[in-house]
Amino acid sequence: MSSEEKKYVAKDYKSSQLVRWCPGCGDYGVLNNLHKAMSELGVAPHNIAVISGIGCSSRLPYYMNTYGFHTIHGRGAAIATGVKVANPELSVWLSTGDGDCLAIGGNHFIHAVRRNVDINIILMNNKIYGLTKGQYSPTSDRGFVSKSSPFGTVEDPFRPAELTLGARGQFFARIIDTDVKNSPEIMVAAAKHKGTSVIEVILNCVIFNDGINEKIIARETRSDKTIFLRHGEKMIFGKDNNKGIILDGFELKVVTLGENGYTLDDVLVHDATTSDPTLHLKLALMDGLSLPAALGIIRDVTAPVYDLEMEAQIESVKKKRTERTLKEFLMSGDVWEVK
């Protein structure tokens, strides 16, 4: 495979299609970061399949110079599962949004995660339905006013991390759409993780939900309102890098180093690889208010992978049974001969 040895650059993954998202849409960032991540991974474009459902985020496959399948609303996770199980050699990605993935496609999403099929899910969460022009989504905050909730919603949202971990997800990361610096690295890690990887992208819809994440991710406040977690490193953050997260009883708590007797030794070290999801969930649910919102790879745990387990099972049965064709199998059963 000479193509496997070829060095790829970001534009090798870029299709000739004109990108048709609204100017300023966060999807552009995701697309560019994905091109970059794929070039770093070095997988040949023809060995990649990008699957999507319906919605703004699901237009992404058209802008990739890979194999791509723009399918139907909510079903991308099931279709991606079929692609991967049918040919585990392929690098399979699912491009989806909060409506596509967590409303109409919620069932397929949790079951793909539960099975731990080796697909990479990029979940672009802008907390709104964009393509149908501004209805609240299953991740919209309680009370959110939209065209379909003129007096505010009276329901609580899903939190993608909670759903992922509740479905026994083994990889969960969170990035910001505009974070050119960290996003490719996280996407590469997601691709390298064996099993379902979920990357939640905190994404801005300039038309229907502009600035909804600003209170947390605005440049001037971001370092105090977010923490970028890295496996094996202390959980410290803040403009002056002097805040840390500690465990106080069963609760996470922010402390300032050097105050009230707290030192770096008291601060938690991030372990993304521990199989117990309790602390990962607590970290993922930090809301950017009293606790900083967690970015980076929150969970990255090795576990049995569905598509590989299925192949292994086929191989083990082949060792026990000698039939390799239908004829051989039929003749091995309850057969009588008419002479």
Binding site: I48, G68, G82, V85, K327
Partner: protein, 617 residues
């Protein structure tokens, strides 16, 4: 043997085993049909079971039956009415009274015909036969439970004795039909090879049942069915669902593509999934999906990735799959969707059979969304039908809906193990390296309008497809009005051209008759038996039974227009008749429609067809 033994020499005989759904009637029915097939008889079986796994003991709703017709030749149906009924309790007798011939033999277990048992079955007197008006049947009143206990005394507990009642009945039936026990012994040994004590108990009880028959032989008729050898070769007993599964495997071998199936459990289709998932040594990949929609979507994904992909379901599941079917139509990818039809609408009668999903298969999608629809006509034909469904899907890059039904899915008959060399090649239109220059995914072969298939992993052919309308030339997304009109017509023409690649419609019976009987799908056996019955009376009748429905075979119109009178017979309110009216201008056939969830009654069909022949309609 004394001269008093009444032996009836019969060409064909109908036997019905019936009891509580936990009484093991399906098991002994299957064993008796297997042994008959092995002895060289033709068999058709019909398991008739309730939706409840274990309904309350002894009640009418819990009655499970297994009917079969055994004969030397011309066996096409499980038979209208039984020559022999085994009724393990009063409820079984009551439910099956309507299926008895006047002089039939009825075997009952007197131990379960006590007052309390009769009350459970809502009998008002202590003489159930009189109450049901069964005055001329020959009753074998055997204390089966007690005899099971006696023969297992000191060996097994009463619980095992109760479980063995069905095997005692089987032994008795074996005597009744002059069947040797060695085949049943072989089958039991295979079934209980890991449970020596249960095997021993069953073998003892089997012999006891046989001996009992021998000891009472003077009092009832016994039967001898002529056996003649059919075509030389190897045979096995197969039901429609298994045959469907094997047809898919055969197609995957023939096409050289891995087989992938993803389905959600649904009666009566689940066996297809189970039969495939156990065949891992043949490399079959099966996913039990989280729902019906995921079932078809995973298969669509697997097809996109280059597998022979299929999903199996029944009517309600097909309804859930319709949006995804539209995607397969639009994306033009190969896909086999098997609908084992059951009684509807909604949940309907889940374990009963009918032909009511034809319109759903043909038209149950948004947009102009043509899909291939074919049907299987008998349990063994499910193999060929699944093979053909796969062949058309793979060679024409289209979804194919294969309609079977609960009756042929669970019914079984002897099947000659096929030689795959005799089946046609399957050659998917994969892209060739020389096509790479200027290639786009919706370029077509003008001969059949089929696009070329580039599967992920093929260098130089990376492309995007999806549910949005595409430009007919560039394959880019297009909302151009004229292009859409062109593509809508193109997709229909592509389907119509498949008629050039399928067999012509056959006419059975008297081709030169005035009256043509038309059917489709799983009713073939009943219709053919009715046609032959009429022919045997010296009258002429022709018979066209359709396997290919959309598109119709090329000669369909010519055949349908040729006859003075045509009667379309189906288990719905006239879906195929309506389809034919729409396809063939001015065609207006007679109809006979029954939607009871039960197979046709041949005698009733004969009556109805005769009315047309005799100009009474």
């Amino acid at each position: 043997m004394t001269e008093k033994i009444k032996i009836k020499e019969l060409e064909r005989v109908v036997i019905r085993f019936s009891g509580d759904s936990g009484d093991g009637m399906q098991l002994v029915g299957t064993m008796f049909s297997n042994l008959s097939a092995e002895l060289g008889n033709e068999i058709i079986t019909f398991p008739d079971f309730p939706a409840e796994i274990r309904a309350p003991h002894g009640t009418l709703s819990g009655v499970s039956g297994f009917q079969m017709q055994v004969g030397s030749k011309n066996v096409y149906t499980p038979g209208d009415k039984a020559d022999v009924l085994v009724a393990m309790n009063p409820a079984a007798l009551k439910v099956n009274a309507q299926y008895l011939k006047p002089d039939s033999v009825v075997i009952i277990d007197t131990d379960s015909f006590q007052t309390a048992d009769l009350e459970k079955a809502l009998f008002k007197t202590d003489d159930p036969f009189k109450e049901l008006g069964l005055n001329s049947v020959q009753v074998v009143a055997a204390a089966i439970t007690q005899m099971c206990k006696d023969s297992l005394e000191g060996l097994s507990d009463n619980k095992q004795a109760l479980k063995s009642r069905n095997i005692f009945a089987l032994g008795l039936v074996c005597w009744l039909f002059n069947r040797p026990l060695y085949i049943v012994e072989k089958l039991l040994t295979a079934k209980f090879k890991k449970k020596a004590d249960i095997l021993q108990a069953n073998l003892l009880v089997l012999q006891a049942g046989f001996n009992y028959g021998h000891n009472i032989h003077a009092s009832i008729s016994s039967y001898r069915i002529e056996t003649i050898s059919h075509k030389k070769g190897f045979y096995t007993d197969i039901n429609g669902n298994k045959a469907t599964a094997y047809g898919l495997i055969a197609a995957s071998e023939k096409a050289g593509l891995p087989l992938f199936l993803s389905s959600y459990p649904i009666t009566p289709a689940t066996d297809i999934m189970q039969e495939l998932t156990i065949r891992k040594e043949l490399g079959v990949k099966v996913i039990q999906a989280e729902d019906e929609i995921a079932g078809i979507c995973m298969a669509i994904g697997a097809s996109f990735a280059g597998n022979l992909a299929a999903t199996s379901t029944s009517g309600p599941g097909l309804a859930l799959k319709s949006e995804a079917l539209g995607l397969a139509v639009m994306a033009e990818i190969p896909l086999v969707v098997i609908d084992v039809q059951r009684s509807g609408p909604s949940t309907g009668l889940p374990t009963k059979s009918e032909q009511t999903d034809l319109m759903q298969a043909l038209y149950g999608r948004n947009g102009e969304s043509p899909a291939v629809v074919i049907s299987a006509i008998s349990p063994t034909d499910c193999f060929d039908a699944a093979f053909w469904a796969s062949k058309i899907a793979l060679e024409h890059l289209t979804p194919v809906i294969l309609l079977t039904d609960g009756y042929i899915a669970n019914g079984s008959s002897a099947w000659q193990i096929p030689e795959l060399e005799e089946y046609p090649e399957i050659k998917p239109p994969f892209v060739k390296p020389e096509q790479i220059e200027g290639w786009t995914p919706y370029q077509r072969n003008p001969e059949n309008d089929v696009r070329y298939w580039a599967i992920p992993g093929t260098e130089g052919f990376a492309h995007r497809i999806g549910g949005l309308e595409k430009n007919s030339v560039t394959s880019a997304i297009s909302t151009d009005p004229d292009n859409h009109q062109e593509m809508v017509i193109l997709r229909q023409e592509k389907l119509d051209k498949i008629a050039n690649y399928i067999p012509l419609q056959e006419v059975l019976g008297d081709e030169d008759a005035d009256v043509l009987v038309v059917g489709w799908g799983g009713t073939f056996g009943h219709l053919y038996e009715a046609v032959q019955t009429i022919q045997n009376t010296g009258k002429k009748v022709a018979f066209a039974h359709f396997r290919f429905i959309s598109p119709l075979p090329k000669n369909a119109e010519e055949i349908l227009r040729k006859y003075k009178k045509v009667i379309v017979i189906e288990q719905n309110l006239g879906q195929f008749a309506g389809y034919l009216r729409a396809k063939i201008g001015g065609f207006n056939p007679y109809q006979f429609n029954r939607v009871k969830g039960q197979p046709f009654v041949v005698a009733r069909l004969v009556e109805e067809i005769s009315k047309i022949i005799n100009n009474e309609l």
